[in-house]
Symmetry: C2
């Protein structure tokens, strides 16, 4: 139980010692912050999550912290948000850590790992399994304080026009799949490319790509991807619970009075819960609409295909871990928690879900 | 996305109109609150969750709200905490809503429903599916503002000394199982009784009871229940995600300045995430210790047994709903969300978990 205050413990040992160029701070100070994001304006789900976070911090602080959001390109391009906050051009950023793989490979462990932890387990690893301390250590090198500020939950496996009967069917396909999942399917013979979400539908329609993943039923419905692909594959092995992060300039964060630092910290933890709840509720509705209104054909990846993707995933991830000692340290912590999680999850949450399906299985039976 | 501020929206429409006996409130007011709980002193998990919540509210408010915790019997007995806060003897309480079934049957929908929602779905229903508004409406009758402030996640099915090969094996057994689960097994021919957690081990050892459920691996290990029972059954069909609640005297809550009301509200949402994360991490470790160190024999309920328990559960729950129009309204909302959830969960979280087990299945294969 000594880990209860891990969020707090990880961040502020030096904060009482702020000296030199620290701004004068007292209870009456007002903070006007800029939040840069990796999202286009009006992006459903993730963009709304950024707005929600800004609102809760403002309201809990009685207006002492006001946050203005800048979408992709408004202050800096999406993928420069990390650098912008690191250098103090903006006070905070809202993104996903796998965008920073080029800055440090280990960042990917704090976003989405194929066959990794689900959303509930990810929070367990971060808050009570040592994950947050490692994330703090990594981002401190870039003058940033990181937080988990949301989760999409499990995603979907992707939209295809050809059936995937075995791992061999990936060969020769051009598939929009970024990050580690993309590396895995490259190992299986596909060409993995990245495209912004808004360009996926046109690329599928033109045949420029053969298949694509995006997020899950809620976001995929909004982009009308069902118009250009026959099959909607599950499960989302490549992104089992993508963490949405918020990072704050470390100097800015540590200059805050203690009560505001706590407000920011717990606003993040509440936001993780809030976004995951939002996606859970909306994906429920969207999946039913996709199947019943748009007649989307759901297809399950075969066991042998998943097992092979699992092996390729392990190769890709252990390769990343081998690149430097810090990445190895993060992988060791992550993988230990993952092994423990598979045991409990098997008899706990998964065991329960399977049992519940025995008694209540309206649409889902015909999808298996 | 209009539901983002449901927590806020549900509570404070009248708060700007506080008149008459309202205390003078301004930014400098200090609040000294008493929190009564349904927990014995030093209870792991749930009791620590109450302490954590009190700490986060105090630290976020810069000490403007100080909370003193009173455990079972210190100010009032555990099961009088609802009444104590309702009448203003204490400002807040920490418990689980199924304790108030005698006050209003509908309360049980906000705690644990056999074959109901898992922890992630429960948060989805409360924040984005209409659940919180219904809970507000119910508790407002008793001058209380309710919040979800934690979750145990899925529980375990219970400790038995005889195997459960079919539903008929419940006949004649005396089983410690409170709440709706107890009603369900009564329908199956068992005698369901309730006992405080601290008395379970002795009752199992003396043969006063034949079987018992408690919480999950973490809490069950601490009480050494493995010493008195041969089999540890899964899944926990009767409590798939028990919500830990915090209720505040409505007059006290609405008298707060807006910033403190927001701090209290989001401290609750963060606490839900925090406790669930804590249980997830600790249950992982405890299950492995139970199996590898204490040689506990895990047993899975058979499909036919679970299917029959599911049918009995539906009968028990629809009986409750039929008792009054408000209970029917809550059941209708809950059941609608449940139906939607089973579809998405089947291809989403459950679909992913099953796929992951194909690639990584250390201990769990021998448990099936």
């Amino acid at each position: 139980m000594q880990r209860r205050d891990v969020l707090k413990a990880g961040i502020s040992a030096t904060s009482a010692l702020m000296v030199g160029g620290a701004p004068a701070v007292h209870a009456g100070t007002h903070y006007e912050w800029k939040m840069v994001t990796a999202w286009p304006k009006n992006l459903l789900g993730l963009g709304e999550g950024a707005k929600h976070l800004a609102r809760t911090i403002k309201s809990m602080s009685g207006g002492r912290i006001s946050i203005t959001i800048y979408w992709d390109g408004e202050l800096v391009p999406a993928f420069e948000s990390f650098h912008a906050v690191s250098t103090g051009k903006a006070e905070m950023g809202h993104a996903a850590a796998y965008y920073w793989a080029d800055i440090h490979e280990a960042a990917q462990f704090f976003a989405a790992i194929p066959f990794g932890l689900n959303a509930q387990e990810t929070a367990g690893w971060l808050y009570y399994g040592g994950g947050q301390e490692l994330w703090n250590e990594l981002y401190a090198q870039y003058n940033l304080q990181p937080f988990a500020a949301g989760s999409t939950g499990v995603q979907m496996g992707g939209w295809f026009n050809t059936g995937i009967q075995s791992i061999d069917d990936y060969k020769g396909l051009t598939i929009r799949m970024p990050g580690l999942g993309g590396k895995v399917i490259s190992h299986a013979g596909a060409q993995a490319i990245n495209l912004p979400g808004g360009e996926i539908l046109a690329a599928l329609e033109s045949g420029a790509i053969d298949a694509s993943e995006w997020v899950g039923p809620y976001n995929d419905l909004a982009f009308e991807l069902y118009k250009a692909a026959r099959y909607y594959y599950w499960p989302g092995w490549h992104e089992p619970s993508t963490v949405i992060e918020c990072f704050i300039n470390k100097y800015v964060y540590e200059s805050l009075p203690l009560d505001l630092r706590q407000i920011v910290t717990y606003a993040m933890q509440a936001a993780y819960n809030d976004m995951l709840s939002f996606y859970t509720a909306q994906n429920n509705l969207a999946l039913i609409e996709l199947v019943t209104k748009h007649h989307v054909r759901l297809r399950k990846f075969k066991k042998a295909t998943l097992a092979r993707l699992g092996k390729l995933s392990k190769e890709v991830i252990t390769d990343i871990a081998a690149k430097d000692p810090f990445s190895q340290k993060v992988y060791t912590s992550f993988d230990k928690f993952r092994k423990q999680s598979v045991d409990w999850n098997s008899v706990g949450e998964e065991g329960y879900s399977v049992a519940r399906s025995l008694t209540y299985s309206p649409l889902s039976r015909r999808w298996k």
